[in-house]
Symmetry: C2
Subunit: 126 residues, 2 copies
């Protein structure tokens, strides 16, 4: 298992996702301040190219540099702010989800046994 | 800007992505040890339901609990190991990407000016 490769790929996904969240934030602000520009940015961002955050920003810089720098600034801010909560949330989230998956699975087994104490699919002979 | 909401959504995306990476790891291991099971897991995982990591694991638990617990274990391991690198990579990655976007943009402006010192799109009259 190549942990560094996984970390690198994960960082790229995370960066692109924060770009998407930054675009959402900027679009939300524009909806108040400049509705036509909000519509333009929504349209520009809706073609799937936002899947790759850096390529998206390259293109946006060509089309509207002010908006691009605004997205860049919000993204940097989000990365700093979100980081504080993020890792702890993912770690404890995964631990809790895993416990939940195990608990539900064990719960199902136990219910089967309570409903029919002799139930044991592998060993039943009667 | 609701930072906690962004952090929560980001954590969910990240958790699902780590589930996907765990499935990739397990599939890779199975390709050596049990090729038919590797093919089965690839097929099971390829229908897009892996986009939601928890829903995917719920279903996998029903179909093949051993595989599900293996994925769960690998995912927990990845989350612990990747965390160390991840935040620093995302933070410095975004800072570097932003500098690069700014540098390229400024580079273009400067090249235009060097190529034609009188170039100034807004003011040109000749």
């Amino acid at each position: 298992m190549d942990i560094k490769k996984v970390a690198k790929d994960t960082a790229k996904v995370l960066t692109s996702y924060l770009t998407y969240q930054a675009v959402r934030t900027v679009t939300g602000q524009l909806r108040e301040a400049n509705p036509p520009l909000a519509i333009w940015l929504s349209g520009f961002s809706s073609t799937g190219k936002i899947q790759d955050g850096e390529a998206y920003l390259q293109e946006l810089l060509q089309e509207n540099k002010e908006l691009a720098f605004r997205v860049i600034t919000v993204r940097e801010y989000l990365a700093e702010e979100v980081a504080e909560y993020l890792l702890e949330m993912v770690r404890t989230g995964i631990q809790q989800a895993n416990m939940e998956h195990r608990r539900r699975y064990l719960g199902k087994i136990t219910q089967l046994e309570i409903a029919d104490p002799s139930f044991s699919p592998e060993q039943r002979t009667d």
